[in-house]
Every structure is written in structure tokens, then in C-alpha cells.
């Protein structure tokens, strides 16, 4: 028995509430693309925007909640800031819901400049959207800085980044999760700062009418968007580093190689976003090639160190398999498979054929849904089960995993196939030439529904423990 942190439990509640709604939006989109619900087609792009911002936001905060919970085991994140993060996020979500449902705002989740100013939605809804992102961005920036402060209370910067391992010293022992969280949070400050600059440029145009350079804003936007999503994934991996050893009954410690790889990631993650601009030929070629090299390079520390480390941890271990350990393991598979899709897409000569086709959602759904979501679900289940200590039924937990995996991968495969057939992403309906996109969508909608059923079973499994944990929360 270990009482759960009440803020972690609140975040779980928020996630469990918003996630199924956002899944339904996703199923809705695939249905419209398949030719169903034709009367609602004008809602496609607003819902796409909400699904995008919502999913990115929910899984970012869920991953941050896991990170904060892990940090709570070693040091003390400020409870006030935790409250602020929760409150600020809810205000941001309300603003977002207002601009989408009342204003039909449909600028897309990365609101590529100057689209928010030039759509068919009213100007106020674009302003509400920007305000929503401002509230979220500012809140998350404060949250990130506070978590860094909490780490700084206990470790020096060089310790937290594991630089003493690089120098050949093993003391003091730093948990790998702390190292990864530190790296991710520092990158997070950069991402959020880029977001703030983008917003400032938008406001500047709003108030003074001074236009910005579209190429520069695009660079900043993807620096923000790509990095944020990327580090949310890393926070999920940190959770695996933290908890999976308990189930394997073996240690998973930091060492020189782990330190090298995650410090490399800190550097590389700042350059990988260039791969979003491959098809902007005005971007200097050097940056494009740096983008491909950085994207490839980030795969090596991830694959060779983390994935190999995880496999070594589990290999022939006296493993206690339950929903948590199973989902951690599956989450690492999703990360690896999605990462492979990403590496292929980050190859410039392949990107010509894949850029902005459904291959893009294919790979990011793989590492977000089958990667990050599984890792976070594993951590959430782990926390509630530790607090609730209820008997576990292996059969039911296997069923949950099988349904989620089958639903998710079936649904991804339709995306990958569509991407290979050059079906563009973000099309509400498909022209006759690309009608097969609609057929893939129909199958995808079925698989996504299977995933939703799997999720509801997961919710039943975790929800009861979550409720019990709430009674004893600290």
C-alpha cells in the first residue's frame, strides 16, 4: 500500500474524462471521410482542430502529471503550482471548447500562420483560440519551471544531467527517470518559449497589423509543436524507467551510456523539427540536411540504449505481468514502431512522397497512442493499484490489452496504407481519384471503435482502483 498523490489522481480524472470524448471526435472524422454523416461535414475541420489540440494537450499534461508524480518520490514539487497547472489547464480547455463549438474555429492544432486570420470563422474565435493557447502555454511554462526547481532542490544541474557519469564517477546515483525528466523539461522550456514567441507575433499582428514572415513563424511553430510532442513521449519513457524495474525485479540504473544518450537527445531534439519544413524549398538546404541527420541520430540513443535496456531488463526476468507491466512493455513497442515510421518520413527523399499524407498521422498516432498513451495508462494503473491494492484478474487485464492493441494497430495500418497511397491528411472528404481513402477510413473507424471498447474496459479496471485511491490520497 502506498497512498497516491491527490493531484496525480485529479489529472487521471481529467484524462479519463477528456480522452474518450476526443476518441469519439476521431471516429467521427474517419466516419465523415468514409462518406458517413454527410450533413455534418462543415464540423469536420473544427472537430479536427479540437481533436488535435485536445489530444496533444491531454497527453502532454498526462505525461507531465506522471513526471510530477515521479519527482514527488524524490523531492517536492510545489502543491500551489500543481493546483495552478490544473486550474490553468481547465480554463484553457474551456476557452478552447468555446472557440470551437461556438465560433467553429478550425485553424488546425498547429494554427499555421496566417491561417487563423484568414478562415471562415469569426475573428473573435481566433482570438479566443490564441487566448486559450496563451493560458495553456503560460500555465505549462510555470509548471515546467517549478518541476525544474524541485529537481534543483535536490540535485545540481550537472548531477541531474548525469555529467558525473560522463566523467567516470558513479556517485551520486541518479535515477534515470530524473535524468530524462530534467532533459525533457529543459527542452520543454525551449518549446514553450517558442510557442510564446509565436503567440506574441500573432498578437502583434492583431494589434498593430504588422505582418510576420511566414517562413519564420512556421519554423517557430514546429519548434514548439514538434518539441512538445517529442518530450511528452520522453516523459512517458521516464515513467517506464521508473516503474518497470519493480515488475522485473531487477534494477535499471543510470550509467555512462545512459547519460551520454540522454544528453545527446537534449541537443538533437532541438534540431529535429527541421524535418517539418523539407517541402519548403526556400529553407536553406543545410538546415534540411541537419534535420535529416538529427532525426536519424535521435533514433540511435533511443533504440540502442532505451529499447535495448528495456529488453535486457525484461529478458528472462522473474517478471510480474499485470496491466501496468504489460502496457509499459506494449508502450515501448509502439514507441519503436512509430519511431520507425517517423524515421522513414524524416528521410528527405521519402518525405517528397509522404509529406502531409496520412503517413504523418500514421506514425504519430503509433507513438502517441500505442506509445505514450500506453505508457501513461500503465503508470496510472500502477499508481492506483499501489494505493488500492485490489486483487488483479489476469484474464480480464489481458483482454483489455488485446482489445486496445488490436484496435490501435488495425487503425494505424489504415493510416499507413492510405499514406503509402498518397491520400492527403486533413481532407474532410476525398475526391473520386482518391476514393480508396474513404474505404480505408471506414475500416479505421471500426478499429478505432474496438480501441474505444478496450479503453472503456481499461477504465473499468483502473477506475475502481482510482476511486478507492481517492479515499486514501495524500
Amino acid at each position: 500500500m502506498r497512498p497516491a498523490n491527490s493531484y496525480t489522481l485529479y489529472w487521471m480524472g481529467v484524462t479519463f474524462l477528456l480522452f474518450p470524448i476526443l476518441i469519439l471526435l476521431g471516429i467521427y472524422m474517419r466516419t465523415v471521410q468514409a462518406g458517413g454523416l454527410a450533413g455534418t461535414v462543415t464540423w469536420f475541420y473544427p472537430m479536427m482542430t479540437l481533436h488535435g489540440v485536445g489530444m496533444v494537450g491531454v497527453w502532454y499534461v498526462a505525461a507531465m502529471a506522471c513526471a510530477a508524480d515521479i519527482l514527488g518520490r524524490y523531492t517536492e514539487p510545489s502543491p500551489a503550482v500543481r493546483g495552478l497547472a490544473l486550474g490553468g489547464t481547465l480554463v484553457g480547455v474551456l476557452l478552447l471548447l468555446a472557440c470551437v463549438f461556438l465560433g467553429k474555429f478550425a485553424g488546425g492544432w498547429y494554427f499555421l500562420y496566417p491561417l487563423p486570420f484568414k478562415g471562415e470563422w469569426p475573428a473573435w474565435s481566433a482570438v479566443a483560440f490564441l487566448l486559450s493557447l496563451t493560458v495553456l502555454g503560460a500555465t505549462w511554462l510555470v509548471w515546467t519551471l517549478d518541476l525544474l526547481r524541485a529537481i534543483a532542490k535536490k540535485y545540481t544541474l550537472t548531477q541531474a544531467l548525469g555529467w558525473h557519469y560522463l566523467a567516470g564517477r558513479d556517485e551520486p546515483a541518479i535515477p534515470p527517470s530524473i535524468m530524462i525528466i530534467t532533459v525533457s523539461l529543459i527542452a520543454g522550456v525551449a518549446a514553450l518559449a517558442a510557442g510564446v514567441i509565436v503567440l506574441v507575433l500573432f498578437y502583434q499582428e492583431l494589434f498593430t497589423g504588422a505582418a510576420s514572415d511566414a517562413l519564420m513563424v512556421k519554423n517557430l511553430t514546429f519548434f514548439f509543436g514538434h518539441t512538445l510532442v517529442n518530450l511528452a513521449m520522453y516523459l512517458g519513457v521516464a515513467a517506464a524507467y521508473e516503474v518497470l524495474p519493480q515488475y522485473a525485479g531487477r534494477p535499471w540504473k543510470a550509467n555512462k551510456i545512459v547519460a551520454i544518450s540522454w544528453n545527446t537527445v537534449l541537443l538533437i531534439v532541438l534540431f529535429a523539427y527541421f524535418h517539418h519544413l523539407y517541402m519548403d524549398f526556400v529553407q536553406p538546404g543545410t538546415l534540411q540536411y541537419i534535420g535529416q541527420i538529427a532525426s536519424y541520430a535521435s533514433a540511435i540513443p533511443a533504440a540502442v540504449v532505451t529499447i535495448f535496456g528495456a529488453l535486457l531488463l525484461v529478458y528472462r526476468a522473474r517478471m510480474r505481468w499485470n496491466l501496468a507491466s504489460l502496457l509499459f512493455f506494449l508502450g515501448l513497442i509502439g514507441w519503436a514502431v512509430g519511431g520507425m515510421g517517423a524515421v522513414i518520413d524524416s528521410t528527405i527523399s521519402a518525405n517528397v512522397r509522404l509529406h502531409n499524407t496520412l503517413w504523418v498521422p500514421a506514425h504519430f498516432h503509433t507513438y502517441m497512442l500505442a506509445g505514450l498513451v500506453f505508457l501513461v495508462f500503465a503508470y496510472f494503473y500502477h499508481c492506483s493499484q499501489e494505493a488500492a491494492a485490489e486483487p488483479e484478474r489476469a484474464g480480464r487485464q489481458k483482454l483489455v490489452s488485446v482489445l486496445m492493441v488490436a484496435g490501435a494497430y488495425g487503425f494505424f495500418l489504415m493510416f499507413y496504407l492510405s499514406g503509402a497511397y498518397s491520400v492527403p491528411r486533413r481532407f474532410a472528404t476525398y475526391p473520386a481519384e482518391l476514393a480508396h481513402g474513404g474505404a480505408f477510413s471506414a475500416i479505421a473507424a471500426v478499429f478505432a471503435t474496438v480501441f474505444l471498447v478496450g479503453f472503456l474496459l481499461y477504465l473499468a479496471e483502473t477506475g475502481s482502483r482510482w476511486y478507492k485511491a481517492m479515499q486514501t490520497a495524500s
Partner: protein
């Protein structure tokens, strides 16, 4: 004497004045049409994002037309019967308020009358074209998919093997494992470097010292692509610079598309006769991207917008023929 001449000149001109004024209005209307309407409508060219406007002045009252052109948003909000029906008919894509004055609306109408002639009926909205069957994957795309599926299968097999190994727990020789990791690291690095070296020359940039056989200027806007032999860099150029309604390109010629955008970011995705992507570039406001392609296979090529650009994004398309 000079006075007399002026009076005489006036006598000659006055009878023609209304006709000339009408023609001038129609010409201003033509420019307005190119700038504000042609991205969604044609006159006699069939329905696009919105209806074909040929004969619109005969189908609807002038009063209705003038009001709809100047304030479509209010008429839709007031649930005007015809306006609502049109919205239903055209995939619920709503005509935006373009900020046109009443005088401009009259000029537009003059242009539509002049071009549309007296044909009473416009082409009905084209029934949705029959869906085409799924094409066969072309080589680069199938290689990409094949590589991905192959590597993914290996990943899943390795994880499955490790997962099932926990059925027979035993202590693992960590030193040996670290040795294996070293080998893995070396192999992975070698694979990465080799792939980089192999794929980077395939990048679509900077084909130095190659001279384009044909240059086509492309201006993207919500929601169509305008082709021209001359650069169109602002909305004001539309209607003043000749554009191409139909584009034919010679097979195997090196064609350079100089792509820009007049409003938001768009994508210029070239789909070959196999209906798969052959090349693409972004259309970004303020910049011109130069996409060079050599199109070997004769046939009809499609261009789809590959960057989300608001409500009509999926309807934003164009095409050309390679002969």
C-alpha cells in the same frame, strides 16, 4: 473654334457613353471576378467549390443577386430559402462575406451577363464523379511501405521473443549483454550513416546547372491554383496577368513550377496518372518555391492542396496534361 470642336465631340460620344460605361463596368467586374470569385466559381465552366454562375442573372432576381454578393453571411443567417438551399447543395461550404460594395457587385453582375451570354441554364453541379478503383502502388511508395512493415515486424518479433522469455526466468550475464549492445550500437550507426549517404542525394533541392525547359508560375489561394506564364505575386495581379485555364506540358521536359501563395500556406502536390504523389512543394505567402520535375508518363496529372487551408481545403485541386 475649340469650343465648337468640344461640343461636336460630345455630340458624337454621348450616344455611346452608356454602352461604353457598361463595358468598363464589365471589365472592372472581370478583374474583381478573377480576384474574388474565380477561386470557387466559374462562368460556364461547371460547378467548383460553388455553383457555375452562367445565367445566374436569369435564374435569380437582380435584387437577390446583389444582396447575396454583398452580404451572403447575413442572408444565410436569416435563412433565406435560396441561400440555404445552395449551402446544402454545395457541401455546406458557406460563401464568405468578401467585403464587396454594391457598386462592385453591379460590376460583377455586368461581367457575368457579358460572359455568360444568354444561355439560360448553367451546368448543374456536377454529380460526384464515380469513385475510381484503388490504383497499384508505384515503386517508391511500395518500397517505403515494404521497409516499414519489414522493420516493424522485426521489432514486434524481438519484443515478443523477449516477452515470452520471461516464462523461463534465469540470471542474465550483463557483461555479455553490454558487449552485444556495443555491437548493436556499431551496426545501428553504420546503418544510419549508410542510409543517410544513400538517401540524401535524392533530395528534391538545388538541381544546379540544369536549365528548365519550361517555367510555370503557380499562385495558390483559397481554394484553387492559378497557372500562368508570368509571375503572380499578389491578388492585384489577378485579372491583369493572363492565366492559363488549361495547361499542357511536354513529356520528359524539365518543368519548373514557381509556386507561391496569395493568402495562407498551401501545398502543391503533383499526382501522376497513377494517382500517387510524384513531387510536391509548399506554397507559402511571401516566398516562391521552385519545384523542378521531369514528367515521363503522358496522361492527366492532378494537383491537390497538401497543406490544410480552411473549409474548402479538400476541394482545392487542379490538373494538367502531359503529352
Amino acid at each position: 473654334m475649340r469650343y465648337l470642336a468640344a461640343v461636336l465631340l460630345l455630340c458624337v460620344l454621348v450616344p455611346f457613353a452608356p454602352a461604353r460605361a457598361e463595358n468598363e463596368a464589365a471589365d472592372r467586374g472581370r478583374i474583381l471576378f478573377e480576384q474574388k470569385c474565380a477561386s470557387c466559381h466559374t462562368i460556364g465552366g461547371g460547378a467548383r467549390v460553388g455553383p457555375d454562375l452562367q445565367g445566374a442573372h436569369q435564374r435569380r432576381s437582380e435584387e437577390w443577386l446583389l444582396r447575396f454578393v454583398t452580404e451572403p453571411d447575413r442572408m444565410i443567417a436569416e435563412k433565406d430559402e435560396i441561400a440555404v438551399r445552395l449551402v446544402e447543395q454545395f457541401n455546406r461550404i458557406v460563401m464568405p462575406n468578401l467585403g464587396l460594395q454594391a457598386s462592385e457587385a453591379r460590376e460583377l453582375l455586368a461581367h457575368i451577363k457579358l460572359v455568360g451570354g444568354t444561355q439560360a441554364a448553367a451546368a448543374p453541379p456536377q454529380p460526384a464523379a464515380a469513385p475510381l478503383p484503388r490504383p497499384d502502388l508505384i515503386a517508391p511508395q511500395s518500397i517505403v511501405l515494404g521497409v516499414f512493415l519489414f522493420v516493424s515486424a522485426i521489432i514486434v518479433l524481438v519484443f515478443a521473443w523477449v516477452g515470452f522469455s520471461t516464462r523461463q526466468p534465469e540470471e542474465v550475464n550483463v557483461k555479455k549483454a553490454y558487449g552485444f549492445r556495443k555491437a548493436l550500437f556499431a551496426t545501428a550507426s553504420a546503418v544510419v550513416v549508410a542510409t543517410l549517404v544513400m538517401t540524401m542525394p535524392g533530395a528534391p533541392y538545388a538541381v544546379a546547372s540544369l536549365k528548365a525547359d519550361r517555367i510555370v508560375y503557380v499562385a495558390a489561394r483559397q481554394f484553387d491554383f492559378v497557372f500562368s506564364d508570368e509571375p503572380i505575386t499578389s491578388a492585384a495581379d489577378l485579372g491583369r496577368i493572363p492565366t492559363m485555364r488549361h495547361l499542357d506540358l511536354p513529356a520528359n521536359a524539365l518543368v519548373e513550377f514557381r509556386v507561391t501563395s496569395l493568402d495562407v500556406n498551401h501545398g502543391f502536390g503533383v499526382y501522376g496518372p497513377e494517382r500517387q504523389l510524384l513531387a510536391q512543394t509548399q506554397a507559402m505567402p511571401g516566398y516562391v518555391n521552385r519545384l523542378r520535375v521531369s514528367l515521363a508518363q503522358p496522361g492527366h496529372y492532378k494537383v491537390f492542396c497538401l497543406e490544410y487551408c480552411a473549409a474548402g481545403h479538400h476541394a482545392m485541386q487542379s490538373g494538367f496534361d502531359v503529352k
